[in-house]
Amino acid sequence: MTRTVAVLVALLVVSLSACGDAGGATIVLRMTSWQSPQENLLDQPAIDAFVRSHPGVRVVNEPVSNQSEYREKVITAIASGSPPDVLLLDGIDVPSFAQAGVLLDLAPFAARVGIVVHEFFPHVLAMFARGDTVLAFPKGFSPVVYYYNRALFDAAHLPYPDDGWTFDDFLATARALTLDHDGDGVPEQWGTAVDRRFLAWQAMIWSGGGDILTPDGRHATGALDAPATVQALEFLTSLATVEHVAPLPNAFRAVSGNETRLFYSGRLALLPSGHWLLPNIRAQLEQGRLSLGVVGFPHAPGVRPATPLFASGWSVPRNSGHRKLAVELAAALAGPEAQRHRLAAGLELSTMPSVQAEFAVRDSLGLEAAFLRLVDDGRAPWGTRIARFREVEAQLPDIIDRVVIRGESAARAAHDVARRIDEILVR
């Protein structure tokens, strides 16, 4: 009995103390991203500096390494009214977040927190802007490019490719670099790779003069099944099915990495990818065990090459409880100092031309200057304009699969998928 009374009294005391205001002086700012633990370490100096200049504030980083899980958590947190104060926004999520009005417009506060918006690459900033509204401070980006293995070119006595090369040049190079020494029909060395993921072949379509959606972004029929797009798709898939200069693409995203493995081990000459490839092989590059070059996408005659720019930025939910501090933290994470620190690890390009140029000069590998040149060919990907783009994007690898696996014609597969995308866009 005595024990019951004691427990009841203890419960009462606890519940009464919970009724009072939380009197702690520490303000906790929560930030989240899909960054890996290594990437989070790169942000730590910026966070430490922020905490030093804001006594009484604590920053809690709550990263979620898996990006789809990250979106689940962020969306649920915002919708339930307990959002993180600062979150990493992927370019593809800008339209839906903008439409829902869940993010704070950072433009009015940029100057106060030491961010000069004109210092960003204009087309990178534009991905996160709607009119005068800025929904995130861009922190890094990358165009999709072709990496080439210099050693394989040297061995074949081929000159390194130049930006502005054509589809024919590309094919001739890939043929020359595909080697089947033992004549068993399976090359020991491949010229290039075909990645079924749309992010890797968007540039090929643009550089072929086609597109996947009409300019207003409302239809896929008329664009995805247009002759220029179909020809680019035929060219891309023929690399694996007709020319046999690329291994058959993994028919699913889950084990992509096969091509990367071949590339790292010197069995593949040209690999489409982004800047994100570099941190994994930086050590080998610096020790001279691997020698890489970067070149833009080839293009059809008379067409200007173009490549998508994939960017992310720090933003603040409208319903963050500590707006001012959150905007200051977002600025600290996207500012030039934080970007310099991240650049040193080679993760991505700086969103500020001055910082990127400064780094390109110091880069002994010569890759950064090549990346910087290719930014001029960069375009905002469709994902930064169309709210339902994730659903659209999920349909697109089907075209590659149907052509490569089922042997259907690119025109038919593209037309079918275009109709399906139209239904999504009209919904």
Partner: protein, 537 residues
Amino acid sequence: MSRVIVRARFAAILACLLWAIASAAIVGVTGARVEYAQAAAEARTVVRLLAEAPERSPSPIRRLVAEGSLARVRVELARFLGHEVSGLESNDRVQVHRSWFKRVVSVPIKDRDAWDIMGAVALQAEPWGALYVPLLAILIVAALAAGLAFRGIDRLAAKPAASVYAAMIAPVAALSAVMAVISVTSRQRIDAAQVALPPLTALSRFDALALPLPSAVLSGIAMALVLLATSAALFVIGWAASAARRAADRRETLTAWAFLAPSALHLLLFTAGPLAFTLFISFHDWDLLRLDRPFVGLGNYLELVRDPLFWRALANTALYALYVPVSMALALGAALILNQPLRGMRTLRAVVFLPTVVSYVAIAVVWQWMFNVDYGLLNFLARSVHLPGVDWLGNPRTALIAVMIVSAWVQLGYQMVVYLAGLQGIPAHLLEAATLDGARRWARFRHITLPLLRPVTVFLFVTGIIWSFQVFTLVYVMTEGGPVHATDVLVYRIYQNAWEFRRMGYASAMSWVLFALLLGLTLLQWRALNRTVDDAA
């Protein structure tokens, strides 16, 4: 009065009291949130007036507690509430400050650029003001229901033939009636507040200053759940009080219910509640991020009928389920072997059981390597005996089979253990008698072991089919539904629609179709297989 009746009456009072407390809590929380939202809206009006004409004090509101600089508001709030308040200077949100009997809603005043918090406007909120009538009604009806339950209990105790349902319907009806009235009134209250408040656009909802109104649907669902729980309790009490029950019977059932009650309540709250909510969502075009979630009726279900990918996923799921009988046959074989009284059998059993306790993701990653076309173990073995390698996961013809192989491998251990338990439950004398009658090994297995294992087989088959229809992790990690949708299964479609495409309504509709399918299949299986079990018996 017998002891049974006294206890039943006590239980009935307790049930009605719990009902009253739960109902009052729902009504109280809903009412308080409406009141806070209204107070916040009024305070925002004051803030706006201050911004437009800062020189004259607006304060047209009688319940204004404080307005102006942070220091001033802090002092006045402390005086009003009797304790210090903190967090005014750094928190952009509307805050509710509480003391024992007083509630104050404060809204920050910001500088021209909405950057620094300069001051606050604090309004007194009176959440209990409008609640006297519903709370009183709840109390009166709880007392009335308890009285009606007493009458029912008396009747049941007196007449052995009396029906529990007929006897207890009166208190349940009384509770339902008042629940319906309260539900309608609180909906009206929320609707009225919605009309009075500035329109709930995306802007105002996510504006840090806004305090959203409560959801009428959620409070309706909560009330329905409380009513359901109380009604169930009253029927059980009536059942226990019935004269037709033997004391032992009664004690056993009540003890069982007492043990079941916590998990039953948990199921009701955390399974039945969300389940009901997904049904509601399935009739809407529901995007988690957006405020407008229009009612589309059967739209989502009709879209399902037209969606070729849904049918593909359904067919794939049905095909995938075929691994269940195969793995069961293998498990039975393994159980027969491992049932031998030999040395090392326990270790061997543990080894076979091991995959069941390993994480699905780890299993999927390892098998992904084993299936790899170039360096996978399976193709290495095939090539070493001069067989061509197979692109297991890259070929639409083999991808689903590959996933089925992994599933069978994972399930084998669990099914084997259940079969082992079944085998050890078969009376040895039956097998001995058959042996004496000259039955050979196969005949003993066919005519004794197999029929006696039927209940175990039914259990494994039914649960296996249910699990197989819920396959997700293996597909998510190994194939992501590919290649060319060859492994696209229902739960993966649901996940993709809900979380990647944010189409919660459509995904919920799919979940309900899956639920209906599973329910139908399970009922069919029970009926068909139970009959064979009965026949066997």
